[in-house]
């Protein structure tokens, strides 16, 4: 596959947004807010950065990805489907008893999913294990993860951060999706996590701060991570929860709620307009 950049990444990401929101709408449940905030990074990973082979999802040399904030499965499933791991039509069976697209990522049944996640705080440790295994066996694959800024309230995240620094896992790169919201409201009110950059630096991680909706910044951060030796990299990306759907943006109420038919129609119109605008420019 040819790597995508700029506008083409934006088109792909917005196609994924539409598919993810539609799947949540059809399932009448799911987590659109956080799915939309991390989709630009996720799309960049799968359509530019990562070495993967949709025809051979278990390829031993592939780069690994762990969605530590597993409730954003609609985003991951949409990107995997667009990337060719399984048919896009299957997305509409998200959370259905008739299919295997569980509410949270399931590595046993969904091609392309490298780790089952969903219980917050656990994914990053498994990513550390994958990166550590690569160092141990001399493999060159890289491991990527996306954590939520609410998720990092879990203590296990900080255990994983310490371990990754101990073993100097420069083959590990973790995004923190700083959308500032969690179920009960503002992350700053529920349980403040800032100053996140200083905390991660103190844990001996290389820290890069970016706008999580700017593809140039995402790509340059990924390049910087690749070139950083002797320590793991954290990319703190400032994002908008619900990005791309006007009424969902910056609204904690859309963390785990499905749009009804009218609401979905608005989301569809907005995202299709955005895609059309990108395609025409």
């Amino acid at each position: 596959m040819e790597k995508l950049y700029g506008k083409d990444l934006a088109i792909k990401a917005n196609q994924a947004r539409l598919l993810a929101v539609e799947a949540v709408h059809r399932a009448s449940s799911g987590h659109p807010g956080g799915s939309l905030s991390c989709l630009d990074a996720l799309t960049t990973l799968y359509f530019n950065e990562m070495r993967v082979d949709p025809q051979n999802p278990q390829w031993a040399e592939r780069d690994r990805f762990v969605l530590s904030k597993g409730h954003c499965a609609p985003a991951l499933y949409a990107v995997l489907a667009l990337r060719g791991f399984f048919p896009v039509e299957e997305l509409q069976l998200l959370r259905s008893i008739k299919a295997h697209l569980s509410g949270h990522p399931d590595m046993k049944y969904v091609p392309g999913v490298d780790m089952s996640t969903g219980s917050l705080g656990q994914g990053l440790s498994t990513a550390v294990g994958m990166a550590l295994a690569a160092k141990h066996t001399g493999k060159t694959y890289r491991t990527y993860a996306i954590c939520g800024d609410g998720e990092i309230q879990e203590g296990q995240i900080w255990e994983a951060l310490m371990a990754a620094a101990k073993w100097k896992l420069d083959n590990l790169c973790a995004f923190i999706d700083v959308n500032g919201l969690q179920i009960d409201g503002n992350t700053a009110d529920v349980m403040p996590t800032e100053p996140l950059d200083k905390k991660l630096e103190a844990f001996n991680w290389h820290v890069i701060k970016i706008d999580g909706h700017n593809y140039d910044q995402i790509l340059s951060a990924l390049a910087e991570a690749r070139n950083t030796k002797g320590m793991p990299t954290a990319i703190l990306m400032k994002t908008v929860k619900g990005k791309g759907v006007s009424y969902m943006e910056n609204n904690a109420g859309w963390h785990g709620k499905a749009p009804n038919a009218d609401e979905f129609a608005i989301a569809k119109a907005e995202l299709e307009a955005k895609i059309k605008e990108l395609e025409e420019n």
Binding site: M115, S116, T126, V128
Partner: protein, 315 residues
């Protein structure tokens, strides 16, 4: 083999002995390698040993990630932390995706002794047994442990292995034709009046209880149930039919462990009296291992009493 060795000691030796044959084996510990006996492996194979510090939940997650690449991680800590503190990591990161991680809980049961209740894990067998797809193994002596470790290296899937702290007599090497097989119980002694289905250190205590009862004309069959899950249903049901009563015996809570498993099976498929011998529904306390075992009734004498109770219930 004869003589005495703690099952944790036999485990530590087995890891070292099997390391060359199984290059995918990697060992993780949480700052307890001198107690869990992974220290010798760490010294012999430093590049295959990963000390995760005092962070058991993360250790389990790291092992899960490593296993997805074809490595065979054994994670080690005390039973209370392996099955208790990291329970949900074991459930969600290891068992739900059915990954090839061996969770090893050392210092199981109350024979931990002096450290007291916070470190005496009586719940691990029940907790681990309830997770779908989990294999639960609790060897009774050094020989059985050595064979169990290799069997688990050849089993592709999640398993919990319990180790004990105190030295225990080795006897399975003297049983005719003994060979460890996952999920297959061992008939240690034949008998016709009652069956003791025991696990871990209680198997040897059952041999002593059997001698006590022989003088009273009670014939006791002994089954070594080293694998609590999957349970050897055929062997237990045969014993239920042939002896008419079962006593379960374990260095664990009578709630939900081997006793629970046998009671569930027998009540459904061949109802006969089942008496559970173990730690009653209570926490442990400090003392020497022997004093604590005595205090909670984990003795051949108490087990013999339970057998008499079971025989009486047959009438």
């Amino acid at each position: 083999m004869a003589g005495k060795i703690a099952t944790r000691g036999a485990y530590g030796k087995a890891l070292v002995e099997l390391a060359e044959k199984y290059p995918e084996l990697v060992v993780l510990d949480a700052d307890l390698s001198k107690a869990t006996m992974t220290k010798d492996f760490a010294a012999a194979y430093p590049s295959r040993f990963f000390d995760c510090g005092i962070a058991e939940c993360n250790m389990v997650g790291i092992a899960a990630g490593m296993s997805t690449t074809g490595l065979k991680p054994f994670v080690n800590t005390f039973a209370i932390f392996a099955s208790g503190r990291a329970y949900e990591q074991v459930r969600n990161s290891v068992c739900y995706p059915h990954l090839n991680v061996k969770v090893v809980g050392s210092h199981g049961g109350i024979s931990v002794g002096e450290d007291g209740a916070t470190h005496q894990c009586t719940e691990d067998l029940a907790l681990m047994r309830q997770i779908p797809g989990m294999v639960v193994v609790n060897p009774c002596d050094g020989n059985e442990m050595t064979q169990a470790v290799e069997a688990l290296l050849n089993y592709d899937g999640p398993a919990y292995l319990r180790l004990g702290r105190p030295a225990v007599e080795t006897f399975t090497d003297e049983l005719e034709g003994y060979r460890f097989e996952l999920g297959k119980g061992v008939t240690v002694a034949e008998g016709t009046d009652v069956t003791v289905a025991a696990t871990g250190m209680m198997v040897n205590m059952a041999r002593k209880a059997r001698e006590l009862l022989a003088g009273e004309g009670i014939s006791v069959r002994i089954l070594d149930i080293h694998t609590i899950k999957p349970l050897d249903e055929a062997l237990i049901l045969k014993a239920a039919r042939e002896t008419g009563a079962i006593v379960t015996s374990e260095e664990a809570s009578v709630v939900g462990g081997l006793g629970g498993a046998v009671a569930e099976l027998v009540s459904a498929k061949c109802p006969v009296p089942v008496v559970r011998h173990g730690v009653e529904d209570t926490f442990g306390r400090s003392g020497t291992a022997n004093a604590v075992l005595e205090y909670y009734g984990l003795t051949p004498e108490k087990l013999a009493e339970k057998c008499r109770e079971a025989v009486a219930l047959k009438k």
